[in-house]
């Protein structure tokens, strides 16, 4: 189970690191090399995003990665094949992040069965609130996969409890309003919000949106279980190529 993996890993490490890549960006070979570099640098779990033409919850960096991947011919089947290769090669949990239409067009049951088959452990579908996700949640439960939902600073305590009930593995908490990849002010308000998240769920907490430096990482330590770094790794690759990934990830965690 994803949750027990996170808990046992947390016994060795105070703050776990989850990273994110867009499959097929800039191409599938580089996706594979980025995963390899991240795993070697000590990443604890990873989100693999299947590109979609209308990624409404993503900011400019990931949006561009989605459309560039599609323009380069990324098909869903190819993403699934690469994901299978990744899960077979590396010994950390991998999750899918994508939008609901990718599941819906494929058939929700069939897609979830395929996820289980290729060794994906859970998924984050940002445009699928639990009210619309009955088929998805049932299929995920049948295959013992983790549906991960999102807490936001706008979520009421009552809403957080509902989302927690519908989730397993962990809860993805976003640090602020807005889309991925913009700056976040890591402040006392954020500390209060994370405390509210803690009180609403017994699941581990991952914190994302705007995490990009060792200082951010230090702030999150002890407040959340997992730090999520998304857009910033794409920026790092754009600036320095795949070779820049490993030093960046090591630097985040305070080692070199």
């Amino acid at each position: 189970m994803l949750e027990s993996y996170i808990r046992s890993r947390r016994e060795q490490k105070e703050l776990l690191l989850m990273t994110h890549i867009v499959l097929g960006y800039p191409n599938f070979d580089d996706s594979l090399r980025m995963v390899e570099a991240m795993v070697e640098a000590g990443v604890d779990l990873m989100e693999l995003q299947i590109p979609f033409s209308e990624p409404m919850a993503d900011g400019p960096v990931i949006l561009k990665a989605n459309s560039d991947a599609l323009a380069a011919g990324a098909r869903v089947e190819k993403s699934l094949q690469i994901a299978e290769k990744i899960t077979a090669s590396f010994d950390i949990p991998f999750l899918f992040m994508t939008y609901y239409n990718i599941l819906f067009r494929n058939g929700v049951d069939a897609f979830v069965a395929r996820m289980a088959d290729i060794g994906i452990r859970g998924s984050i579908i940002p445009d699928l609130p639990p009210e619309e996700g009955g088929d998805y949640l049932a299929a995920m439960a049948r295959h013992d996969l983790a549906p991960i939902h999102i807490f936001t600073p706008n979520s009421t305590d009552e809403r957080m409890k509902l989302l927690s009930d519908k989730s397993s593995g962990f809860i993805y908490t976003v640090a602020r309003k807005g889309v991925t990849g913009k700056d976040t002010a890591f402040s006392d308000d954020l500390g209060d919000y994370l405390e509210r998240c803690r009180n609403a769920t017994s699941l581990p907490l991952a914190l994302g949106f705007g995490v990009k430096s060792n200082e951010d990482f230090e702030f999150i330590r002890a407040k959340a279980d997992i730090a999520v770094v998304g857009s910033e790794t794409i920026r790092v690759v754009e600036r320095g190529g795949v070779a820049a990934v490993k030093p960046f990830i090591r630097g985040l965690q305070g080692g070199a």
Partner: protein, 410 residues
Amino acid sequence: MQDRGYYDQFGGAFIPEILVPTFDELEQAYLEAKADPAFWQEYKALMSSYSGRPTPLTRADNLSSHFGGAQIYVKREDLNHTGAHKANNVMGQGLLTRRMGKTRVIAETGAGQHGVATATMAAKFGFDCTIYMGEVDVERQRPNVFWMERMGAEVIPVCDGSRILKDAINEAFRDWVTNMDNTHYVLGTACGPYPFPEMVSWFQSIIGTEAREQVLRETGKLPRRAYACVGGGSNAMGLFSGFFDDPEVELVGVEAGGRGKGIGEHASRLAYNDASVGVAQGYKTYFLQDDDGQMQETHSVSAGLDYVGVSPILSSLHESGRVRFEAATDQEVIDAMSLTVQREGLIPALESSHAFAQAFKEVGDLDPDDVIIINQSGRADKDIFTVADALKDPKWEEFIIAKAKEYQNA
């Protein structure tokens, strides 16, 4: 939310978690307004004094005798302030925005009509206003951008994706997930997550309510058929809703047939067989998409119909057979527009001309005692640049070249 807004299998609210409280608030404001007769009175009074409602129902004798079939009546939404039915929706949402205590509005726009209407409303209500418009559309619709900016709106060109209407919608959502506390998103058509399809249709129902009263008063009978063009579907929902309880009235939605069948050639989600059911931009409906669920390019001579999805309410009415969907090609549309201008002196927008084109194909088969209504959802004289291009008018081209030289020499 109390409801999820399903019309058979279509609709729903596939929204990011951050917007859940915003949609709760919007649904509540909408339901309260709907239950409050004073709200609709205020709305009607505003539309009367500001937008010239009720718009007339014009008898088109010359066209009727040209085709020799049914008597043709035209509902004149082109006479709204800003020149299209878009004003109906925008002013209604303006009143709701004020009720919710918000001070800023954002909107997407394709052709620019909805952007101009929203900027107008924002100027009148004193709201800050930001309009998202695909970069491609900004380039081809400069006159609309000019007016939006004059009215104080900030027009942001969207350079992501295919840089057209659907990308502007995504970008407006990205603004909204950041600024929802003081901002209302004035979605321009009967699409998107619940309650938008229903709420926009409600504001547009003023068209059908008026049209039904007018046609009965004028002719003593209900129309055999009512025609409206369908992009997102708001003007069609507006006209049709006046006749939903009259099964003898056939409702005909006319989509953009573009250059004919085949993905990328048109924007017909329902009349052709190129679309399939999917979920994007927050709702479930027929989309022009590939097997993977990626949205595809669309084409139409009219920017306002050039959209991948369609109102979930219309998808449901398509499946039930209550509304018949047809497509008119670019050439049919240009011909229908030219004929209407010449015979009646009416200037229907290229969008609205789709409804005229389909009606012209069929009207000769009806009896002279029959009546049909065509919704002229907007007027084309303000779109002179795009219309002159579509009509390939050589004298206009000469004029523009001469004008450009004047600026170059200035």
